[in-house]
Amino acid sequence: MMKVALVGNPNTGKSSLFNRLTGLSQKVGNFPGVTVDKRTGEMNLGNGQSASVTDLPGAYSLYPTAPDEKIVLEVLANLKHPNFPDVVIYVADAANLERHLLLLTQVADLGLPVVLALNMVDLAEASGIRCYPDRLAKELAMPVIVVNGRTGLGIDVLRAALPKARARAKPFYPIPADWQALAAEIQRRWPAPSDYHALLMSHHLGLGLPAATDQEQLQALCKRSGLRSIRGQVDETMARYDFIGAVVARSVENVAQSGSATFSERLDRVLMHKVWGSLTFFVILLLLFQAIFAWSKGPMEAIEWSFALGAEWLKVNLPGGWLTDLLTEGVMAGLAGVVVFVPQIALLSFFIALLEESGYMARAVFLSDSVMRKFGLNGRSIVSLISGLACAIPAIMSTRSIRNWRERLITILVTPLMSCSARIPVFMLLVTFVVPGDLYWGFFNLQGLVFMGLYLTGAGAAIFSAWALSKLLKVAGQGFFLLELPSYKMPHWKNVGLTVYEKVVTFVWEAGKMILLISVLLWGLATYGPPSQMRTAEVQARAEAVAAQLDTVATADLMAAKRLEASYAGLLGKTIEPLIAPLGFDWKIGIALITSFAAREVFVGTMATLYSVGSAGDGDLKTVGQQMRAAKNEAGLPMYSPAVAAALLIYYLFAMQCMSTAAVVYRETNSWRWPVLQIVYLTALAYLAAWVTYICLA
């Protein structure tokens, strides 16, 4: 099957065109070895045959500075890459060909057949820029097709042009004389289909060369040549611009009356204004916050309810035994833990897609950069930190657009401090022990105030940690802050919808695998224990039940509690008791800390089991709360004093009790070093803060 790649600068309407070409046949995955979203799909060529299409990330040139951009180079300049295309569709904004044609000439010089798709011609004409596609086609010696990804204009012409596309005979940029010897030598030793390909190999040492020996040879060769690749890059870009400038002058007519401000410029006077712009941004943030919490509440409750119902149904209808238990308490609980976040992630990605599509996001980045930079972060970090209020996983994935590695790393490391939705059930349970839920003056609720305080504390801790990390981390931060501010556009709803769908699917698969795996593992730890001790626990529970004349439900509850106590998880909880005693925690809390290590919300379910209410895993907050209220410590005083509950709250606010986040951090940083450092510093922070809280309140 023919392979097609879509290439172009960011903000050219590439995604709309991709959606138009592939319809709903598209799939989202990852490029091998990196976590850059890969969108592929199938398209009809119009002659009964079909082709596979890959939508490559937007890039400005073949000299990448961000991981997303690097993929473009790796796919187009590596003959062995599984997505190496037969034909390239290059999408360009007709209003700004001077810049958009730069990457086009580079891609064509790799020796690839290219078809130029001129997008946004209508917008260009409206602003007084008239393109002559036939003149452009002649100048560039390649097919030029006017398309409109939103209306579908020109799509059939584009389909028909693909099988006929041929590589250009001559390069746009003949490599300079002093580089020719080096390029020839590279081509003699390794497969490089064009001079320009060889030149790029020397710049990006080892491009498409997997073997270390080859890379060393290439490096030595380049060093001997005495040529400086950064100088070469600047010279090349300038030479290409000279050529492009002449081409555009001959094929584009500019009748715009300069001087009058465009619609976007006028809108920016308000939206990028120091005061009004910042105020608008603040209001948008409030709306976003509202959406994540208020609007997702109903669907989330519905999901929890249906999973509980499903598990109950399975329990009744399947034969009893460990397999059913594994299914209902391990797998189903794990699945519920994943699916319950779908409404929040869908809403959040909907709003973020809306902000991106409309062009507003770049303004938000502009407005927040100077403040964020004071704390070692980046204007783009604001998006990740806000997303972190729903879930740290998509938030950490969204740091990819931060080009400065140091600022990106700091953003990744502090994002889990933003209070995510998994903390809500824990907070809800514990907050009742800290302050009463009474209303003051008819509307003022102290618990609400504590909730808000927790969110603010989390955000404050994130900002403060970022500042501390920026002082401590010895990581070089190459990469500059360069931001393009696209013109405002009406969001294209189909694109927004597809983005939401993609994000949800990615989350369910990527985070789902990990959460499911760990849920099953923890189920095992909580269900099994040293056989002799488990037996003793059962005998004891039965004896106690008989002595207290308990009914069957209460006996089963007591049995579950005793079994958990004797299980491996229970043993671990008791082992760490001396360690957590200074915080006022006992071994029961120890067990909950361990079972909720993978996912915080498990805390509530574990507490329910330990205080034997209902059957295991069914965490009805009210009854768990009542049981915990009745619990006494060794001195005969209430176990969950305000001091203990507050210390637990603070612990859960700071600790990184989320293995899926650790897994995502590993994938994004490509090293175990960072997730391990993150777990250690966040746990230490949580421990210290909980200790201080306990000491102050006890």
């Binding site: 209003a95 120091k274 502009f366 100077s370 500059f480 802050f481 360069l482 931001l483 393009e484 501010l485």
Partner: protein, 81 residues
């Protein structure tokens, strides 16, 4: 900036709001390579549209491109006299 008796080159960072100037060159080669790609090219007219909340980043119109760069980096982009 203190006035120097020698010929001083102004940079984009020193432009007033709505002031236009022609880009001469970029003092940092690595930065230069990246600025070229997003459309900030020597010989081109730039206009400072506005500054961010604490004076950074600066919002520029360079040819047909609307760009923002931090003021530190803007200080590296020198203008024709």
């Amino acid at each position: 900036m203190p006035k120097s008796p020698f010929k001083t080159e102004r940079s984009i960072a020193q432009l007033a709001i709505n002031e236009r100037a022609i880009v001469d060159h970029c003092a940092d080669e690595a930065l230069s390579a990246q600025l070229l790609e997003i459309g900030l090219v020597p010989g081109q007219e730039v206009m400072l549209l506005r500054r961010g909340p604490l004076g950074s980043p600066v919002y520029l119109k360079a040819g047909k491109n609307y760009l923002a760069i931090r003021s530190k980096e803007a200080g590296q982009v020198l203008l024709q006299a």
